[in-house]
Symmetry: C2
């Protein structure tokens, strides 16, 4: 089975204001949308689009946490949270449709304790077997040790399960120490931790970046590069995965998470690595066609899948 783990789940609120958004002024909101956010959350939503129910695990707290839980129920997403003290964070995106600006304000969220982490580990353990694939990622909540992902990866591995880790910065670097089955950083995240520039047309440059991960013992290393698709290394081979150009992009947020969902589903179905990567790229591309992050439609995936090119480089 597949589960997703998002330690820092947020309630993402899009506030579309009347008129122009100006600093120092008072604005009325003409439209609001609420959606639970976070990398694992988006991956679970993408999997649901393909009819696959992958429970969301993570921390929720307070009234915002209850609101997240009730939206999940409306969406049909299974959520099995650890309830903590404090209010789940809200992240705001203030949209001005006249000047086409988006201004983001991100709360920090509540601090978690060692006890909360132990409860999350108990919760994850319930789902673990040799067949479990865990999509895990996003930023760490306040109070979490920087080694949190390493600790959770060890837990999953101890029961024979596989982790796809998708995070950034120090949380990713520390997570690598526990050697997850797969990683899927994006271009900017790889550039930040390796302090290099990535060029999709420079094979050696890409292979060197992938080697950074595979040299640490990671079996499947994937770098997502937006419209330039995916680059991956697996069992000593390097792959370039090129999705078709999308004629009508709506919102690219959540594409990396949808890619992770596709990779997880491909692994769960024991597909060949080429097909695993193809499904990842197709789901990442399908995500671009809808407004909500992770809102992947099965018909879009079926349309895109045969158009994805996978080549050994």
């Amino acid at each position: 089975m597949i589960i997703t783990v998002t330690p820092n789940i947020s309630l993402d609120k899009t506030l579309i204001v009347e008129g122009s958004f100006e600093i120092g002024k008072t604005h009325r909101v003409k439209d609001i949308t609420f959606v639970p956010g976070g990398k694992g959350v988006n991956a679970s939503r993408a999997l649901l689009g393909l009819g696959y129910k992958a429970p969301v695990l993570g921390f929720l707290g307070g009234n915002a946490g209850k609101q997240v839980k009730s939206i999940f129920e409306e969406e049909g997403i299974i959520c099995d949270p650890v309830w903590i003290n404090g209010e789940t964070r809200t992240c705001y995106n203030i949209v001005d449709t006249i000047n086409k600006t988006q201004t983001e304000v991100l709360e920090r969220g509540p601090a978690i304790t060692r006890e909360d982490i132990d409860l999350l580990k108990d919760k994850i353990s319930k789902y673990l077997s040799r067949d479990t694939i865990v999509c895990m990622g996003g930023s760490l909540p306040l109070g979490a040790p920087i080694e949190l992902y390493a600790e959770l990866v060890e837990l999953v591995k101890s029961k024979g399960g596989r982790v796809i880790l998708d995070t950034s910065g120090k949380a990713l670097e520390k997570g690598l120490d526990a050697c997850p089955f797969a990683v899927k950083p994006n271009r900017a995240e790889v550039e930040a931790i390796l302090n290099i520039k990535l060029d999709p047309n420079d094979k050696e440059n890409i292979k060197n970046a992938l080697n950074h991960f595979s040299n640490k013992g990671i079996e499947l290393s994937v770098i997502s590069m937006g419209k330039d698709g995916l680059f991956a290394s697996y069992e000593g081979k390097y792959y370039r995965v090129t999705p078709p150009e999308d004629s009508n992009p709506v919102n690219a947020v959540g594409s990396g998470d949808s890619t992770v969902a596709g990779i997880a589903l491909g692994l769960e179905q024991n597909l060949k690595i080429e097909e695993v990567l193809r499904l990842g790229a197709a789901m990442g591309t399908a995500n671009v066609r809808t407004l909500k992050p992770g809102d992947v439609r099965k018909s879009d995936v079926e349309d895109i899948l045969p158009k994805v090119e996978v080549t050994v480089i």
Copy 2:
């Protein structure tokens, strides 16, 4: 007894961002405060500061409504709401402490129905007698008829109670038709509905403005003018009420509502009109000394009270 009625209660969220607030950028929040807001809400808070428990009545809905209810419980404010469908609105104040800007984003809130209004009227009725004073005000929620305040004023009057109405624009104009016992618009609200400029040093100009209300049969008409204090008419006399200049103003938001609270308390205690107005001005001034709207300290009121000048003009 005193009760307060606020049809459009909000959850007021102050988000203090790290660094400069810029449109089109992503910002992290370094500090948040939540406080239930609305004119009657602030008046109840101000009364609690003087040890007087005036229940808050109004509409609440959803998780934001639950959050408002639980903050009231922490504050020790009694809240007896009508629960409605939809989410109580949240109003955001994004504070940039570097450039000293405040940017407000106000949600509209859920629409109320005729059934919700009838439930509110039942709720208000429980508290009504000849001794009841009702502080009522603020903007109207979506779906409310523009005559809502007139309807509620009629209800209170039918049981012999007195209403102090504090609202603006069309909601005030329509509310006047039902002839509440008292009104307390502020300078800007009077200027807007009468289409004039108010000059605190021009007695005739002020008296004419007060006459607009007393000519409609309103017994006590009060115009609040910030640092310039209050002007009032009662039983054919006109009063100017001048509070002492405050040496350390922190936040003036909620001063008008605290003034209403003081007037209500003075009326409830059967004080002479001069003392009623003095208490109103002292509570309005005390409010300026604290950050939270309506957060009036008894010691501040006792300090300010003897320094308030009340003269017949």
